[in-house]
């Protein structure tokens, strides 16, 4: 199991489009992916789960990846978050 803390950097937070991007990427990996925030542990492959965290800019989350390709998955997912989901801030 790999765990890592990340901060949401893009201005609209984990809004619909960033959440969709996150879920799309996470679903490509075999490993299970969970996000911890405010005591919740949600399935990171569920867009509604991700969106309902209501994580705004600056929110701190903990990622948990569990499975055969967990390192690769963690690297890709955190990179996406750090790149502000490839979105230019509007």
């Amino acid at each position: 199991m790999t765990k890592k803390k990340v901060t949401i950097l893009n201005s609209s937070g984990l809004h619909a489009r960033p959440s969709a991007a996150l879920v799309k990427l996470a679903s490509k990996f075999e490993s299970e992916f969970y996000i911890h925030m405010y005591g919740y542990r949600i399935n990171g492959k569920s867009i509604l789960g991700v969106m309902t965290l209501a994580a705004e800019q600056g929110a701190e989350l903990e990622f948990e990846v569990n499975g055969p390709d967990e390192e690769e998955a963690m690297e890709s997912i955190t990179e996406l978050v750090n790149n502000k989901f490839g979105m230019h801030d509007e």
């Binding site: 619909a16 959440s19 569920s46 867009i47 509604l48 969106m51 309902t52 965290l53 209501a54």
Partner: protein, 570 residues
Amino acid sequence: MEKLATQEISIKGLPGSEGIAIGDVLVIDNKKRKVQPKKINSESILSHLKSFAKSKQLFLKELDTLSTNLDTKTAGILETQKHIVSDVEIEKRINASIEVEQYSVDYSIYKVFNEFIERLRESGSELFQQRIVDIENIRDRLIGLSCENRNALIVEKGTILIVKDISPTDLIHYFEQGIGGLVMDKGGITSHAAIIAQSLGIPCLVSTKDAVSSSGLSKKAILDANNGELILNPSSQTTSDYKTAQKKEKRLRNAVAVTSKPSTTKDGKDFTIRANIEFVQELKLAKKFNATGIGLLRTEALLFGGIANKSESEQDKFYEEVLSKSEGEVTIRLFDVGGDKLISHTHEEANPFLGWRGIRMLLDEGEMFKSQLRSILKTAGKYPGRIKILVPMISFVEEIEEVRTELNILQDELKNQGFTVDEGVQLGVMIEVPSAALMADHIAKKVDFLSIGTNDLTQYTLAVDRGNERICSMYQHYHPAVWKLIQTSYDAAVNNGIQISVCGELAGDEIGAACLLGLGINDLSMSPSSIPKIKGLLIQRSQEELHKFSKAVLNCSTSEEVRELYRAWD
């Protein structure tokens, strides 16, 4: 209540998508169907599971059909909806609710979605709260589909739809039937419905709170989404006022739409359209119509009131304001006074248009000339590459040499005083006197660009005082003689590898612009309000067509023949 149907009622809301709609009212009071916690027996489990799978499939198919032919933003929203509909967690929980808890399909969908909605509601984040209505829409659509209760309501064209909220799929469905406007009691300006209404160009008002309950008996309404207002049962006076406003708005919208297209002829030849302005306030319209910079900044207004030597700091302020509020090149014309634009201390002349005006006066009135040039050069130093200086009423080559000398001296002085200067500041002249046009080849060697002032060029070529009423019919700017001088000036610019543009009225005239572009002059500057008309015309023609037209114009012998040619060509 019956009385209310004839009274004008105003309801306020937030503009979700600008515009005005006038039409019949259709209220859809989509009171949520009561979804009861209904238990099912074990024999029905499979059919309820199948029903959920089927409704999901139908929804996804519907979203796929809608996704084609939409702009990226709207397509993005539908894409997100697809993700939500296919959410693994949702599927798992709904199936479990049906299979294990033995709840009906509709209640299972309702319950599972609500778990997420509740969490979003608790989050306290304003931005995320706005998403609730979107998720509720998906929930209700899925429930609707699972019960095969499709809401394919047919609406009349132009109808103003008044709803509590609406799903993107329903909105697009109504858009295809031609609804004129949308009023939504719920939702914020960032809700999906508002964003989609924007991209579809449907005027839309959101957060009206009680529009649905207030509109029950109304037949007609005006939706003024520009000012955030819904007017129910408008009087005939209000309706007629809004019809006028709507027409005006439509014209402007079409105009803006044209000007946002690339400036290229049908066969892909680029041209540039700039704005002629005199006051800072005009920059707004120039920007709205997507002018590529200012092709002519008139400066005479700085002299209004008869103060010949407007203080330099006031001039500095004016140029600074124009430069900071605009983009691209700004061609500043030096004071073009004299002639009909007399300033108080000038003496009366027998033939003012053939007298002490333009550069002739500037070179005599040394201080006024120097202070303007200094002010322009200081601003140019702050905005390198953006300012071009244009000299009016040149009729002798020597005049340019004098201006160039003065410009160099002032640049050196400014540098010595510690100012930054733009070493490459461009100097150009107006071609508006026949002698300048005929000598354009020589003039072109001494300047960085030429700009043809067609109003004066017409006046001086035809020897017609354009202010003289008795002979005003002889002031003909399509006169073939004028075209020949324009051709000569263009050839001179091309032969010497310098830029040439037209900043006179001919550029803002349909026949004029078509012919100028045909001759090869692809840099036109005009009053901002002329831009949509001229751009609309030029992008519809090919360079070859325009060239043929201009060749024919040069062979005409009268202005009337030019007009006739255009009519036949059009």
